[in-house]
């Protein structure tokens, strides 16, 4: 019978890291291990990958064994993750839109999304906050400091 899995998310993480370690070791082994003198460009990646494999292997075993002194906080709850990931997807979408509508408008949209969808507040103040922040950024960075930001077809 398989031993009880104490820490499911930790196990997945450890396995992912092990796979990653395998990838790094493999790629590292394809690069030259030794150069003229001393280690080549493959030396470090190879050993980093090996270390990753070793330690993630250890982690995998730990996930099956009895917890030593795990406090309550070790109970990884994924309860709020949905909100966090929605926020991340929204941010990624806004980055994607920079090319077409520029930073300022995209940022206003992101702010509205955050405030209206994630925090469940009303839309009008959200618009106000978004525009205010975008304006501050524009004045501070573009005008005062001369930094360029991604612009849309309307020049800002």
């Amino acid at each position: 019978m398989l031993p009880a899995i104490r820490d499911k998310s930790g196990l997945i993480a450890a396995l992912c890291l092990a796979a990653f370690g395998g990838y790094v070791t493999y790629t590292g082994s394809k690069l030259p291990y030794v150069a003229d003198v001393g280690p080549g460009s493959g030396f470090f990646p190879f050993w980093i990958g090996t270390g990753l494999l070793l330690f993630s292997g250890y982690q995998t075993i730990v996930c099956f064994s009895a917890p030593r002194q795990q406090s309550e906080s070790a109970e990884f709850s994924w309860h709020g993750s949905r909100r966090a990931l929605i926020g991340w997807v929204a941010m990624a979408a806004s980055i994607f839109l920079y090319r077409w509508i520029g930073f300022a408008v995209s940022f206003v949209l992101l702010t509205i999304f955050f405030i209206v969808v994630i925090e469940r507040r009303s839309a009008l103040p959200a618009l106000g906050i978004g525009v205010a922040l975008a304006l501050i950024f524009h004045l501070l960075f573009v005008v005062a400091l001369g930094v360029t930001l991604p612009t849309g077809p309307w020049g800002f």
Binding site: L31, G38, S41, F44, I48, W88, A92, L133, V147
Partner: protein, 503 residues
């Protein structure tokens, strides 16, 4: 000419109204630039170089240097308040600084940071004034084996960043080391892990990685809870707006630690303020009576790295002014400025242009005082940012992060990197992997690998070069000791457990 006479000459230059004014402008601009992530002092100085051509040269260097060390003051503000490092050298400040802010002591953290920066900055100027030539000569003795040993010592600090799980810290460190290998290999010009992208040939942009992991990661963590209101409850009372006398007493060693480590590491060409700040943090934790509290909001954990990154500015000027060798990006552009104005930076710069050097040194004293006077009263003001409701703060942080990261290379690719690192930072927080260990690996990985390969090139493959040389042998021995400590502790704990079980 002895130092005191020179210093008086310097003050007579530095206290002229025009130089005072431009010193003020420089340090204020530096502070602003340091607060904002991405836009760094190097780029700002580069932007302002054309304007300086119309100024007197001493005035110009006073102003530009002001930007340089002023930025180190500013870098702590967003690190403490928003877990967003404004400079790469402020990453170590985030570790305890942000936790202090979460505990309601943002003001104390900001205040101690200003005080530590002032003390360290002053020590840096003193060092620059008194021991530049011998220090520069000592720094020349640092060859690749010594750099390698220094990096190993820095990595041994992982031991002190570990928290509960050493293995997880090591895994995070390894990921960081891997990230450092991405890009073109210096020696063989081969590309590693670039996935065919020309944009990755230069490696991962450090600012994108740290801002992503810390700031964006923090925003994502915050989004989990449906608090809707303030992120941090700010208790009232002066105790939390300013450091107390007890705080100052607690930080006695941190002040010394930060100043000395920052100054010495700064004088080594190629080692940066980031290394200095992590080393200082690690040392502080090592000698502390309560090391396990580091990472939860310990004030010495803010004072040490903040002092280190300020003293580093003074140290970085040592090789520049005594030998004409730039130690890093910002000093390289300062060198460029000197060349543009017609000076020839080298060992003869100081003897031939004493008013330039001593005027600069004296102005740095003045600049440090200005910065302290400027920053301390602003501390309660800055701390009020935390009163903003989370639904305003979140977009604000994302906005500043994006602009900051974009301003480094004008590249949307970097913003994507930031987003990916944000996700990574979030996942690491959830799974209890220390992000600081990853950053440590990323920062040190480059220099570590380079130094090892350079050392072996020097010795034709003979590893004993690392222990044959006194300086590197000493540092490696200390590092070995540090790494063995947890093993010893683990063995002792295991033995105690065995004894307990048997009784």
């Amino acid at each position: 000419m002895d130092a005191l006479t020179n210093l008086l000459l310097g003050f007579s230059v530095a206290l002229q109204p025009v130089n005072l004014f431009w010193c003020f402008v420089g340090v204020v601009l530096g502070t602003v630039v340091g607060v904002l992530p991405g836009l760094g002092p190097a780029a700002t100085i580069a932007m302002l170089l054309p304007l300086t051509l119309k100024m007197d040269h001493t005035t110009a260097i006073i102003s530009l240097a002001g930007i340089f060390y002023g930025a180190r003051y500013g870098g702590s503000t967003t690190s403490i308040l928003l877990n967003m490092p404004g400079e790469s050298s402020s990453v170590a400040t985030c570790l305890d600084g942000y936790q202090m802010a979460r505990n309601g002591r943002a003001g104390a953290a900001l205040g101690i940071s200003a005080i530590a920066s002032f003390i360290a900055g002053t020590v840096g100027v003193l060092g620059l004034m008194l021991i530049s030539p011998p220090l520069a000569r000592f720094a020349l003795r640092f060859a690749p084996p010594e750099y390698f040993a220094l990096m190993v010592l820095g990595l041994a600090m992982v031991v002190f960043l570990a928290g509960d799980s050493m293995v997880k810290a090591l895994l995070a460190l390894l990921i960081g080391l891997w990230l450092a290998t991405i890009g073109t290999d210096l020696f063989t010009a081969e590309s590693r892990f670039t996935f065919g992208q020309a944009k990755l040939l230069g490696g991962i942009d450090f600012i994108a990685a740290t801002v992503g992991m810390f700031a964006i990661g923090e925003v994502l963590m915050d989004l989990e809870s449906n608090s809707g209101g303030e992120i941090i409850k700010l208790p009232r009372g002066l105790k939390n707006l300013m450091p107390t006398w007890q705080d100052l007493k607690d930080c006695r060693f941190a002040f010394v630690n930060g100043s000395l480590i920052g100054f010495f590491v700064g004088a080594l060409p190629g080692a940066g303020a980031t290394v200095a700040s992590f080393l200082s943090y690690g040392l502080e934790k090592a000698v502390s009576r309560h090391p396990e509290k580091f990472g939860t909001g310990v004030i010495e954990g803010v004072a040490a790295p903040e002092g280190a990154n300020n003293a580093d500015a003074g140290g970085a000027l040592v090789p520049l002014l005594t030998l004409g060798i730039p130690g890093g990006n910002t000093t390289a552009i300062l060198l460029g400025g000197l060349i543009l104005w017609g000076y020839k930076p080298g060992p003869l710069l100081i003897p031939e242009h004493p008013e330039l050097f001593w005027g600069l040194v004296a102005s740095m004293y003045v600049g440090n005082v200005i910065l302290l006077v400027l920053n301390l009263p602003l501390v309660p003001l800055f701390a009020q940012i935390l009163r903003l409701p989370s639904y305003v703060l979140h977009p604000f942080i994302i906005g500043i992060s994006v602009v900051g990261v974009y301003s480094v290379n004008n590249s949307v690719f970097d913003i994507w990197m930031m987003a990916l690192f944000g996700l990574l930072g979030y996942l690491m927080r959830k799974l209890d992997f220390p992000a600081s260990a990853l950053i440590l690996g990323l920062v040190l990985g480059d220099v570590l690998e380079r130094a090892l390969r350079q050392s072996l090139m020097m010795s034709q493959g003979d590893l004993t070069i690392l222990i044959n040389r006194p300086i590197s042998a000493t540092m490696l021995a200390i590092a070995a000791g540090l790494l063995l400590l947890p093993a010893v502790r683990w063995v002792r704990a295991w033995r105690a457990e065995v004894v307990e079980r048997e009784s």
